[in-house]
Symmetry: C3
Subunit: 261 residues, 3 copies
């Protein structure tokens, strides 16, 4: 019983998701279809990569993950099938896979798609479902794709260090208003070396001087910092919406200043 997941910006208001699922059910009725999210902000491959990166490892090996976020599809757009970490990934070669994987995946295939204008407006339905069902039914990548060794690179802004500072940014604001940054626990620990520090945001209007373990380490409505389950530094509020109440949104800058003892 293969699993096919969907991470798209198709929304939940239209017939689009239904049409994709109909295609999957017609093509491989034995597959289990799971929605990861259809509310990726339109055309936002960074958020698509962030979302799938944090969800796919929960699924069994052999799962097939369709990413339907395709800001531009032109006649020469390549569509990829990737096998990495025991999972399959299908989507456009628009940079999202360079954001999804920490290093270039080893098994990359370009789908054999005849360039036809009628497949360009909705590749998730017209191309990706067919490729997913092929794999779900035990077909090999080589039957529908050719091996390749490059993917379009798009660089994500990485946290940087200068002097006593780590400079990072907000990469995701979740449904609760929790603010997830691109500063990971390893960088924080290795650069910080247990020194005192101050996490500054909103141009220094707010700061936090410790990292907690749990939202409820602080009183209700109080802001805090912690490392989220994906090991990234998160700014949150116990039972509150940090993004709204602190006025912080995606791409905002976060600075951490460390103090020598």
């Amino acid at each position: 019983m293969p699993v096919i997941t969907l991470t798209t910006d198709l929304g939940l208001n239209d017939h689009y998701v239904g049409a994709v699922k109909g295609g999957l059910i017609k093509g491989c009725p034995e597959a289990t279809i799971v929605d990861i999210s259809h509310l990726i902000p339109p055309y936002n491959i960074l958020q698509a990569a962030f979302t799938l990166k944090n969800a796919f490892t929960a699924f069994p090996e052999g799962s097939i993950h369709i990413v339907g976020v395709t800001p531009t599809v032109e006649l020469d757009t390549q569509h990829l099938l990737i096998k990495e970490d025991g999972h399959y990934f299908i989507g456009a070669d628009n940079g999202l896979f360079s954001l999804l994987f920490p290093q270039k995946p080893k098994k990359v295939y370009r789908l054999n798609i005849v360039a036809q204008p009628e497949f360009m407006s909705f590749p998730t339905r017209d191309i990706y479902t067919k490729a997913a069902c092929h794999i779900a039914q035990g077909g090999t990548p080589e039957m529908i794709a050719v091996a390749s060794d490059e993917i379009l690179e798009r660089s994500m802004f990485q946290a940087t260090t200068v002097g006593n500072l780590i400079k990072g940014m907000v990469i995701h604001v979740d449904h609760y208003g929790n603010i997830i940054t691109n500063i990971d626990e390893q960088l924080f620990n290795s650069f910080g070396r247990n020194r005192n520090f101050k996490i500054e945001f909103r141009h220094g209007n707010y700061d936090i001087t410790e990292v907690n373990k749990s939202y409820s380490d602080v009183p209700q409505g109080e802001k805090l910092a912690l490392f989220s389950s994906n090991k990234m530094l998160e700014i949150a509020m116990n039972q509150g919406n940090a993004s709204q109440l602190l006025g912080i949104s995606e791409s905002d800058t976060i600075r951490i200043e460390f103090y020598d003892r």
Copy 2:
């Protein structure tokens, strides 16, 4: 493994969809339940018909499509089971089926429902799930319904032509802000006969003079016209929200003027 799809205005915030799915799982656990959308605007049978029309053909023949959009249910409201194009459809006889099918479906049945006030407030849960499970388990329409040869007609505004003009309207604005009109490709081609033209909207404040093949035929943020995958004329914006940025919404008028050479 029969497929039952759901197209409703029940929303995703309440217990309603859960109650419907519980009823289906209890009644026919072997069926595959697929959400087409639960975010049809409340009571809007036109949008329900548009959504299902564009999704149902993706599903295998024999699929059962429940439409749970019932603006008024009175004691004498009829509930229909329709077989058309190899698919089954279940919903209220409130005009939505005349909007769903281009011509009157050949096999129409009225469900044998004892008129009981307690079934009136939630027919999707109390009536349609039972009818769907009956069909899913191989029951015949005749066992739960009587053949009929009429359905409530509700006419949709059709695009019209006068002089050198096609006059149409916006029938749907999708999640991306793409604007779908009721002007189809066939009318455009047969009436237009390759003449030059100008698509006007917002009382002539905007116009477009060509039809493209793909969103990315124009620069990012630029408006364009194209025929969507359902062959209807669509006004869109490459990676932008045309509805918001052009100020166009459902029911707005679209005019196409053709010029003799």
Copy 3:
């Protein structure tokens, strides 16, 4: 084929629901997973209890219902497995179960969870999925939990009577804007004894003097009162959004005055 339902405040925008479903599919691929809602207002155990209470009985006996609404999770938070009415329920001992069941459930178990900070931020994924799969695969509660006979009580505001008045409040506003109160049909009938009455809300700016059977008993756009399918007094508007148009929201007061003949 056991059924596992999900009632959470995880939202639909993030990777959270995907991660939960991945865990369930990995742990018990034979289970049928059903979303009741992921749009419970964040941290709102009252709405979670209301939603699940009105949905769970639709599911077959033996179904397993996960409630993932956990405003505070501390190291000493208990996580419960409850068997009641032939169904299983899994969630935090934060008062929601006292709101879900009219009386204390007979079979209550505390899950054997080693208190670990890394399980505290996301118990739905890290704890509840494992417990649900254990039950789904035929395991007994005793293997993963110890019997207990208390749950955290949180009292819901109950409708009260004084003189000729029933005083209640709004406990839920649904997707259509229908206003559901905590005044049930039995109290209304036994206290009212067929007397004339006036339902007052918005500090007496509006009143209703009869209870109808169906939304369509009144003209379109007109307000009405009726008993909803869960037997609670509901204020609604035929094809309109009563909450928005009357300016009534959760926790608002509703008074019913009865008149002696």
